[in-house]
């Protein structure tokens, strides 16, 4: 079940615009790797690349020792699952119907889901503490609830490698922790988890390693404690902040220094 994911020097260009440049990443089984970086740094593009939604101009993605492009769709779907920010739109679907779609990769039935698949779907929602969403229309859910359903869909794929694009966005503090705990537990079972996060503190707490992307390049990588420093926040995010590691609770405390808005344009908004 444990699977290594190696991103070997990929480059992505859309038009003449360089999105990713020579990215090198390596994640092993039992490990959560967090990709952090400011908006537009290429985090989602990287996940799309690994999930084969877009193909890199050069470089290789190696999944369990085999180049990703050599997999068939079905093989790949049994190896890598991805939760990407794309809404199923236009038609109303029940939450469980969406989660069950995740089971399609291992399904033997062409028309109906088997009992096993239903069990998996229930487990996926159950583990996220979201069984109450089971029969709800996806469209009527809040953004956070929808996120949970989409995570459950990914989990239902039961793959060795799980990619999640901002899995805790829109979630409240409790649910953020819940989701991260689940991911931690999955990694502890031997799965390979790759997440993009804006929550630097959560990344530090739950992930073995952090990769910092900025303008399509890896600017830092390593253990959270080593990577996440006030210098990094300043150079990558342009935020002046105090980073303190609380040894007692083993958790980073990040306190941004807020400044006054200097721009004159704001007066136009009065």
């Amino acid at each position: 079940m444990a699977c290594n994911l190696v991103v070997d020097g990929i480059r992505v260009e859309i038009g003449s615009c360089k999105i990713l440049d020579n990215i090198e990443i390596r994640v092993g089984g039992g490990e959560i790797l967090a990709i952090i970086g400011p908006n537009g740094s290429g985090k989602t593009t990287l996940l799309k690349c690994i999930s084969r939604t877009i193909s890199p101009v050069s470089g290789e993605i190696i999944v369990c020792g085999r180049p990703a492009r050599e997999y068939s769709n079905r093989e790949y779907s049994k190896t890598v699952s991805a939760m990407l920010p794309q809404w199923p739109s236009g038609f109303s679907m029940k939450s469980y119907e969406i989660v069950l779609m995740g089971c399609r990769n291992q399904s033997t039935g062409v028309w109906w889901e088997g009992e096993k698949e239903l069990e998996v779907a229930r487990a996926a929602l159950g583990v996220l503490n979201a069984m109450d969403l089971y029969e709800r229309d996806f469209d009527t859910l809040s953004s956070g609830e929808q996120r949970k359903v989409l995570i459950a869909k990914s989990l239902a794929q039961r793959t060795g490698i799980i990619l999640l694009d901002e899995p805790v966005a829109y979630l409240d503090m409790k649910h953020k922790l819940e989701v991260m705990t689940v991911l931690r537990a999955l990694a502890d079972m031997g799965k390979t988890v790759l997440v993009t996060l804006h929550e630097i503190d959560l990344a530090s707490k739950y992930c073995e390693n952090v990769v910092v992307l900025s303008e399509g390049k890896v600017v830092a990588a390593g253990k959270p404690r080593e990577v996440i420093t006030s210098e990094l926040l300043s150079s990558v995010y342009g935020v002046e902040a105090v980073v303190k590691w609380d040894e007692e609770i083993d958790y980073p405390v990040i306190v941004p220094k807020t400044g006054r808005l200097q721009r004159g344009e704001i007066s136009c908004l009065m």
Binding site: S51, R52, T53, S72, N73, R74, Y76, S77, K78, V80, S81, A82, L84, Q86, P88, S89, G90, F91, S92, M93, K94, Y96, E97, I98, L100, M101, G102, R104, N105, G109, V110, W111, W112, E113, E115, L118, R122, M131, Y134, E135, D137, D139, T140, Q157
Partner: protein, 338 residues
Amino acid sequence: MHAQPVNKRLRLSLYVITLSIFFSLAFMISVMIGTMQLSPFEVADSIINPNSDPVARSIVLGYRIPRILFASLTGFVLGVSGGVIQTLTRNPLADPYITGMSSGAALGAAIAFVVPFLPYYAVPIMAFLGGVSMLLLSIFLAKKAGAGPIGFILAGVAVGTFASAILMVVLALASEKSHGILYWLFGSFSTSTWGDLQTASAVSMPAIIFALYKARDLNILLLGEEHAAQLGIDSRRLWLLMLLLSSLAVSACVSFCGIIGFIGLVAPHMVRLTIGSDNRFVLPLAGFTGSLLIVIADNIVRNPLNPIAEMPVGSVTSMIGVPFFVYLLIKKGKSFGM
């Protein structure tokens, strides 16, 4: 605590049985009524007994049954294909004609009307060729543009508009033949024959059965081509294959009976509004709904009490379907996600 989705099989069977009963009733009534009113006994007699009244026999076997069957086939194909195309484009406003296929078929038929001294079976052949060529053209253009479903819809609109423009020119030149063309455009089953039925179903039924077989994968295509690929679906191929097959199926029917609007758009929505978006329900039930709608509409068209006898069946389907659709929309539209 939660409804077992396995019950879906039972629910689907129930819906299918209910709609089948309604459909059978509509079918039987349809065979009985018309210019010559026939009792159930006379109908049965003319089917079973080769020596029964030749007039009743040719009316029942030569006209009514092939006509009703063709109407049902067309309704079924339009309903299923409508559901498929809406799924493929992920656009609830899409219908089977979105590829510009209907305009192409209309143009082909119109040309067959205008070119002098073509045999009478030239119209369906030309309509089919016209429809398929516009379909292929719009797929080709969409691939060139490479903008996914939206690019496809826009290419279809462009191709369809272009074909319609030429059709208008043909109509303007057609003079006294234009009422033949117009009547074809309205759609009618008045001359559907067993031969038409055989040809149309030979083309459309395999496609429709394949679409139904792939209903679960089509559900996943609702998430988008990329998501479907990540779930193990050969989505690009399935997308193109489903589009081609369902359009061909519609083309095959429409080439004989003319452009029957509305069913392909609305029959799938009627099912979605009542039952949900699962294509395993939507596709077969939309097929039955389409058949039922079209057979009822055709009955109104054929009814001797109808003062405007043989009016366009497409407009009747709209007249009876739209109020029901609007009712559903108002009642359940909020959960529709549109």
